[in-house]
Symmetry: C2
Subunit: 348 residues, 2 copies
């Protein structure tokens, strides 16, 4: 029986359309009988069908924040020029997810590759596309972007992984494990068997605190960015903003996404050889880490950049760290727009 | 009734002497009736009594690791030249601490300032000193070093705070809160009422994991330093090394130290004016952050350095991050020795 949750709705995150892409066999051996993808689109597909941009979502995020922060007239992702498809990942709460499934505690394990195969089916079969002008995403969106570029190299013309890696690091795996444990050690989580998402409030609050520590940067707090955003001190920032952000979410959904995040790795295609996997990429690629990111740091992204043919390293300077993705630093958004604009202007 | 613990013993951490410095009134209003300080000394006090070095301990550490990693013939802290006094902080498990007190769950709140007043009584009344050639410590040892230099400026001739701050940051406060919650959310902790330290094994293991994420650095794992240290992968590193390190410790003792750590702040002497507090320092001071420290980052230490008269900024380069303090990176130790040697050679 699905879990009560009032957050993952058209009212809060729409408008979006839900596509049933049919049964999806999963890489870990399970199966989603009817895989549903919640998709928000902006702009119009042109006659040549060569102006489509795909944006997969990040952990805890939905298409709504992509719409609000990244898409707009005069922006790089301009709906007057492009047909922008924002696809909510499996487990996001809008697409097929534990909380909206018949048996939330036993939702099958999903991998980044499953998401990308599902999205491929969406854009080819449902939307009739045979190429994507750009795939761009942040964090887990970057993981999906890399997976797209390696798995379907002939289809992805440009790729912009922002603040994410092609192969997750050991450090990041353990960081994510601490996020997971914030939920699974809450007695109310109860092995995934709870009635309403809000039952796991204590665990979600602890997760919000861990994100406060690692999601921004020490410099962010040192320079008082949290106060500049309107919070009296870090306590209010944690209790109001960060806890407020996570409180309405569903623990099982977050755990589903985190499991994928931990195991994102394009070298699964090449028997563990990351160099060989990244060599498959045909897309013109801008690798875009964020300078103060504490868990997808530029150094980790730089190592991968060197393995991608013809790629450019385009770091974003922001003391907002990983969560510069949230868009609170206008200068970071300006840099991202600048890079994406240049990337989109490149002939392919 | 004291809590069972086989770790905090002379066998594991000795030899050390325990000094009873009498009743200590605490800044938060409580009182330790008989404050005991466990102290290990190395070398001999000279006739002029001007070769004494004080080393306060860090969170979770005792005098033993200071002895093993920092003290030795030919090192900066050379017992042939100096009388080195390593004083275990209150809550360390060797000095007065919750677990060895009559009522562990209700041990009073202690501040860095209480430790430093206790140490002052030790070195003046018990050891007969009127000046210290150097106070040096890492992490919470740095917090105590700053407190010494501000509280007793006439007594501290040189100061070397390593990987720590004079005023704890908001970010660090919340990071430490996540460490505390790893223990307090373990049902076995039970508000501090448990019989044996080992009862809180699950919480201690979670704390070990949080330290794995923040204690070293992303670069440490990226470059495979954990494998170079003999562990197959990060899982073995967490389960064997980091968990093995924390498993024998006492949760209430760690929480006692963490409470101090969170509130370390020399500006308590000057009504919150950090500039005025640091201006009191007479010691020749080397501010020594570690390059890849994720929670006492160089940038935070640099801001304080600028406020200390005649101080020098001497960062240590090490991808071991904060836990370079553990001494696994010989190059970091060499740098620390180099700086301390130069500092000790400075006339005062």
């Amino acid at each position: 029986m699905a879990i009560d949750n009032a957050y993952y709705t058209q009212e809060n995150h729409g408008p979006y359309e839900v596509y049933d892409i049919g049964a999806l066999e999963l890489e870990e051996g399970g199966r989603l009988d009817r895989c549903r993808l919640a998709v928000a689109t902006f702009g119009t597909l042109n006659a040549n069908k060569d102006n489509a941009i795909l944006v997969p979502t990040w952990y805890s995020g939905t298409s709504k924040i992509i719409e609000q922060v990244y898409i707009g007239k005069g922006r790089a992702l301009d709906p007057d020029k492009y047909f922008v498809i924002v696809c909510n990942q499996i487990g996001s709460g809008l697409s097929s997810s534990p909380h909206n499934s018949a048996d939330p505690a036993n939702f099958p394990r999903v991998r980044i590759g499953d998401d990308v195969r599902a999205q491929h089916r969406l854009v080819t079969e449902k939307l009739g596309l045979s190429s994507l002008a750009l795939v761009v995403g942040g964090s887990m969106g970057a993981q999906q972007t890399y997976e797209w570029a390696v798995r379907y190299p002939e289809m992805v013309q440009r790729a912009a992984p922002i603040a994410g890696t092609a192969k997750n690091t050991e450090h990041d795996f353990i960081f994510t494990e601490t996020l997971n444990e914030s939920l699974t050690t809450d007695p109310a989580w109860n092995g995934g068997n709870y009635k309403a998402s809000a039952d796991v409030a204590a665990g979600l609050k602890r997760q919000a605190k861990l994100w406060t520590v690692m999601g921004w940067s020490t410099q962010f707090f040192k320079e008082g960015r949290h106060r500049a955003l309107g919070f009296a001190d870090i306590r209010e920032f944690v209790d109001t903003f960060m806890t407020g952000y996570f409180a309405p979410m569903d623990a099982n959904d977050l755990l589903c996404m985190a499991w994928k995040w931990q195991r994102g790795d394009v070298s699964r295609h090449t028997g563990g050889d990351l160099r060989a996997a990244l060599a498959r990429i045909r897309a013109k690629t801008f690798v875009m880490p964020i300078s103060h990111d504490m868990f997808f740091p530029p150094a980790d992204c730089q190592v991968e950049w060197r393995l991608i043919p013809n790629a450019e390293f385009r770091p974003i300077q922001s003391i907002d760290g990983h969560l510069a993705l949230f868009g609170a630093d206008p200068a970071a958004l300006q840099q991202i727009d600048q890079h994406l604009g240049e990337l989109l202007a490149r002939p392919v």
